[in-house]
Structure formats: C-alpha cells, structure tokens
Amino acid sequence: MVKIQDLKQIFILESMPDHLLALIGQEAQLSIFSSNTCLFKAGEAVDTFYMLIMGQVALTVALNPDVDVILENIQSGRTFGSSALISGGPAAYSAICQEPCETITLSGARMQKIFETNPELGFYMMAGVARQYKKTMDIRAKMIMKTLEQHPEMKVSIHDIEKLTPAY
C-alpha cells in the first residue's frame, strides 16, 4: 500500500484523479534496492512496473562483452518497465540501480487485469505511459542525431531500411 501523496511524485500520474490514485495505491508496493542491484536484464520478460521515488537507475544495453551503453539514467519521478503494463515482451535494456533506490512497484499482470474491469484507470495509465514513451523517443532521437553529426561515418552502417537513412 502506498499513499496518494507518494504517487503524486511520479510524473505520469500527475494528472490522474485521486480516486484512481487510491486504487493504484492499494496495489502498489514500496521497495528499496541497494546500489548495483539489477532489477531486470535485457531479453528477460518484464513483469513489474517501476516508479522511482529516490535514487538513480541506469538503463543499459550490452554492445559486446566488453562495452555497455547507458541509454538513459532514470531519476526520481520517472518510470521504467512499462512493458509490464502493455503486451509484456522482453526488456530492451537492463535496469541497474546506480545508488540506493526507493521505488514504487506494480505487478504488470495484476494491473492489466484491473484495467479490463476499470477502463478509466487503464486509459489514464496508458495515456501516461504513451506520453513517457513519446518524451523518451524524442530525447533518444536527439541523442542519435547528435551522435551521427559527430560521427558521420556511422551513417554508412545504418542501412537496413527506411530508418535513419540520410535524406540529403
């Protein structure tokens, strides 16, 4: 059980009505993780949705056995593991606590069941998740553009479709 005041610290829940926050609060759990805890690994199924209250979590991908790329550092108020609330599917990244972290967690399977009987809650959560994805997508697109400008030779290797090929 998590208090509404704590849930209001999470960006994607900011516009959610209190009666829905109360429902989430009943399902949510407060968890504390120590530094370097791996919350899930790339390729594994994600069954928990995480909302960070305190600390920092790195989302990383292994390029090869020697090199990990940090896609993003998640800080307080942000969420990750959204796949647990939609179709599931394997994680595209590993989530590793960079410092001691306090999180609010929700079981993805449990929440998906609740969404079916309470579509109002489902709608608000999905809208929040979609906005978060959009924001992340925009940040990542800028990161990619910036890197390609600094290393134009990389454009040559991006060839397997319509995606990110030089226009002119």
């Binding site: 959204s82 939609i86 595209a92 709608f123 999905m126 906005r131 959009k134 990389m154 319509e162 030089p166």
Partner: protein, 157 residues
C-alpha cells in the same frame, strides 16, 4: 465517415473490436494529397492522426545543426501523427508525401472527447499508442546500437 472495412486495413486499428471502430468511423475522413505536400511540420503541434491507405510518405527530422535524416518511410496500412491523440504534443518529424497519397485522418481533439466519454475506447486506443511508440523507439534504438557496435572505435579489426 470511413467504412469499418477500410479502418481495418490500418495496422494501428486492425485489432480493435467492431463496437469501438463504429465509434471512430464517423470521426474519420478520407483525404487525398498531392506529391510534395507537407502534412506535418517538425516541432509544430499535431492536430491530426494520419493513416495511410495509398501512396508513400517520408518522415524527416532536422537536428539543431541542420542535418536532415529520414526517420521512417510510411507505406499503406501504417500511421503517423499519433501524438495528436495525447493533446499538446509537438511533432518529432516533418511528414512529406513522396507520391500521390490517400489517408484516413482523425482529429486528435475529437478523439480525446470520445475517450473522455468512453473509457473502454480510450483504454483500447491509448494502449495501442503506447505499444506503437515503444516499438518505434526500440526500432530506432536497435538500429543505432547496431551502427555503434560495428564502429571501428568500438569494434576494432
């Protein structure tokens, strides 16, 4: 108004139940566009969702330094401008018709009114928006990581 049969040709809508598609149908319009028509401009607010039924559209993005890249090429059955469903969302790209195009359009504001009056429809559609964004983001990230992984500085030899 657009028929359910035509709406079902759009990947984004295909799996929605008929009763939800019947609510979307009267809000949808079928429009045609000439080549080189700019449908969406980067950084401007998006009001319409476009679902392509014929033709081809390029989604281009321009960096702060002016470099232009094609992020994606939209073919029939695919959608873009879905951010319009979220309200107050600016476009990440500029969308240009590269040939004569036919597209189903939906006003974001009208769809938001539908969602507010029918949360079942709102949940179903917004779940697809989240999935679409996730897939698109993962696709671009995977491709970028692939190019990094074979870069000589990362992978000498």
């Amino acid at each position: 108004m657009v028929s359910l049969d035509l709406l079902k040709k759009i990947q984004f809508l295909r799996d929605l139940p008929d009763d939800i598609l019947e609510k979307i149908s009267p809000l949808a319009r079928l429009e045609t566009f000439d080549p080189d028509t700019i449908l969406v401009r980067q950084n401007q607010e998006q009001h319409l969702v476009y679902m392509l039924t014929a033709g081809r559209i390029c989604l281009n993005t321009r960096s702060d330094a002016g470099t232009i890249l094609t992020l994606d090429e939209i073919t029939p059955g695919r959608s873009f401008g879905v951010s319009a469903l979220l309200g107050n969302a600016s476009a990440t790209f500029t969308a240009v018709c590269t040939e004569p195009c036919e597209a189903i359009t939906l006003y974001g504001e009208q769809m938001q009114q539908l969602f507010a009056s029918d949360y079942t429809a709102g949940y179903a559609v917004m779940g697809r928006v989240a999935q679409l964004f996730k897939d698109r983001m993962n696709k671009h990230t995977r491709q970028f990581l692939h190019s990094l992984s074979i870069h000589p500085a990362i992978n000498p030899v």
